[in-house]
């Protein structure tokens, strides 16, 4: 259970780190400036937006769960279950929730509070591929596994085929928690 203890130790410290947070709206679209493609922050995404990507029509609505800029997705690197037959907190039929997750801390513009968000991957079946997003607020390399998003969090499931990602609110994040 060592990884498990380490995992939560790290989560707690990460939460403590996040003392200030800017609105998701402030930092949107910077990468797009001067590029010919309407691709947001998606270094590894080579799929056409029209077919696979989330909508990017220049509107960046932090309250639309089918857009990458939805506030809960602040550290979500993957495809949105809302575009794959699921919802913010449900896996699409035919897939299963991952048994392990990574964590983000995101600012909800509606109530002005920060929340701990669990990013579960949904696993199994044919992978979805719709609405790819790559948000990395608070993301860290693999030596901080619990807040690392460049790995398949279906890794521990019976079928580790990646399907899509949900974002489940675990609770409010205390500014000095942990």
């Amino acid at each position: 259970m060592r990884w498990f203890d380490d995992f939560f130790e790290r989560q707690a410290r990460n939460v403590a780190l996040k003392t200030s947070r800017r609105s998701a709206l402030l930092r949107i679209g910077r990468v797009m400036v001067g590029t010919a493609f309407l691709l947001p922050v998606l270094p590894f995404d080579r799929q056409p937006r029209a077919q696979h990507g989330a909508i990017d029509d220049g509107k960046h609505d932090p309250l639309d769960p089918e857009r990458c800029e939805y506030w809960r997705y602040c550290s979500l690197d993957g495809t949105l279950c809302t575009c794959c037959g699921g919802s913010i907190t449900t896996c699409p039929p035919g897939s299963e929730p991952s048994s392990v997750t990574w964590i983000g801390t995101c600012h909800n513009p509606e109530d002005g509070k920060d929340y701990l968000v669990s990013y579960n991957d949904c696993c199994g079946g044919a992978s979805c591929g719709h609405c790819f997003c790559n948000q990395n607020e608070g993301e860290r390399p693999g030596y901080r596994m619990g807040i690392h998003n460049d790995i398949n969090w279906c890794m521990g499931n019976e079928s580790s085929v990646y399907h899509c990602t949900v974002s489940v609110v675990l609770g409010e994040s205390g500014a000095k928690a942990g």
Partner: protein, 383 residues
């Protein structure tokens, strides 16, 4: 140790410094979503997955009213796909390799529950299923749902018979030079198939699914000069085929041998001068109660244009043999009609991968377009 349930994770995370008292959002529970109840506008789109990923096909489910994506059924490699007669199940015949694209090949017949997208049944079948584009008629249930007939190609042609009651493979029946399964409505142990010499082969099974008779018809169509598209619609035992040159062939498969009941041209002299011909993959649809027949057409036809996207969709009344409407084609390469009194027609645009929803009453009229869906998709089925 390897697995930790989400609820445990949630609980521990809460212990570690979440100030729930002040939170407006309460901790949430992750579940697996359910499909909304099926309605006649639920679309099933068979997709090979792209020629760059042929090992990884799937069937997309899309709500035809909201165009919301509902989910997918994994279909592996070059799967044949068909809804069961009552749409409660999706059948697949597909290929696996033990190491993705190498190792041992094995083919399976699989049944998915269309209410849950869960696998209900899987049966190994001879590793011969036709690795074809998802054409209608490459896998069909008998009228009573007891047997499923699966097209094989090695490229020698045969069919595999699966018994849904016993849930087992029954037999393989050779159908040399013939293609596409056309079950008889009046005889749940009989199907016909189109052959390369212009005949149809009629196969009759016994109650165990074994072939007891194979009868070849007279030459019913000209496979050289005016070949039939294999996509067919039927009313009872009468199947309606269009040919490359636009001739409608009505063939009855109910008897021991198939017979040509009628043949007439969809095009008049003016159409012919402008080279209007049928084209597409799933290029016809039929509403049996009203006898309205829909055909994808293009003009300026040439040798090789028979799969082109539709420029227009023509509507015929099979009772009067009259064309009653020409409507925009929306680049259709596949179409399907809902099972309703006033059906809607969904077409799949071969240029944009979008669905178009047409009203059919009082007349055929294109309406809402979906977002693009599918990568190398063909067959459209409606619940």
């Amino acid at each position: 140790m390897k697995r930790v349930s989400t609820s445990i994770l949630t609980g521990l995370a809460l212990l570690l410094g979440c100030r729930l008292a002040m939170a407006e959002l309460q901790p949430e529970t992750l579940t697996v979503g359910k499909l909304p109840p099926a309605n006649p506008h639920r679309i099933y789109l068979s997709d090979l997955g792209g020629l760059g990923h042929v090992v990884d096909g799937r069937i997309h489910l899309v709500d035809g009213d909201s165009y919301k994506y509902l989910g997918a059924i994994p279909a592996a490699m070059f799967a044949l796909t068909a809804l069961s007669p009552d749409s409660s199940e999706m059948y697949l015949a597909t290929t696996y390799y033990t190491k993705l694209n190498r190792g041992k090949r094995f083919d399976q017949f699989e049944v998915y529950d269309t209410a849950t997208l869960k696998l209900k049944s899987e049966i190994e079948i001879p590793a011969k299923h036709a690795q074809a584009l998802p054409y209608k008629g490459t896998m069909v249930s008998t009228a009573d749902g007891r047997f499923v007939i699966i097209q094989n190609a090695t490229p020698a042609s045969s069919v595999t018979v699966v018994d849904r009651k016993a849930e087992k493979f029954v037999t393989e029946i050779e159908t040399p030079g013939c293609w596409i399964i056309l079950p008889a409505a009046s005889n749940a142990r009989r199907f016909a198939t189109l052959c390369g010499d212009g005949t149809l082969l009629t196969v009759t099974l016994d109650d165990d699914g074994q072939a007891v008779s194979q009868q070849r018809s007279a030459k019913l169509f000209d496979a050289e000069k005016d070949p039939l598209f294999v996509q067919a619609e039927h009313i009872g035992d009468s199947y309606y085929f269009v040919s490359y040159e636009g001739n409608l062939h009505q063939i009855n498969v109910g008897g021991d041998t198939a017979v040509l009941e009628d043949k007439w041209s969809l095009v008049d002299d003016a159409d012919r001068a402008a080279k209007w011909k049928p084209s597409g993959y799933q290029l016809t649809a039929l509403h049996a109660p009203s006898k309205r027949f829909y055909v994808a057409m293009h003009d300026n036809a040439y040798d090789g244009s028979h799969k082109n996207p539709a420029k227009e969709i023509w509507v015929f009344d099979l009772a009067t043999k009259q064309r009653i409407q020409r409507a925009p084609g929306s680049n259709s390469v596949a179409m399907a009609l809902s099972k309703e009194e006033k059906p809607v027609l969904f077409t799949y645009d071969g240029m944009t991968a979008e669905f178009v929803r047409y009203d059919t009453v009082p007349e055929l009229k294109p309406g809402a377009r979906s977002k693009p869906v599918g990568e190398f998709a063909g067959l459209v089925q409606l619940h």
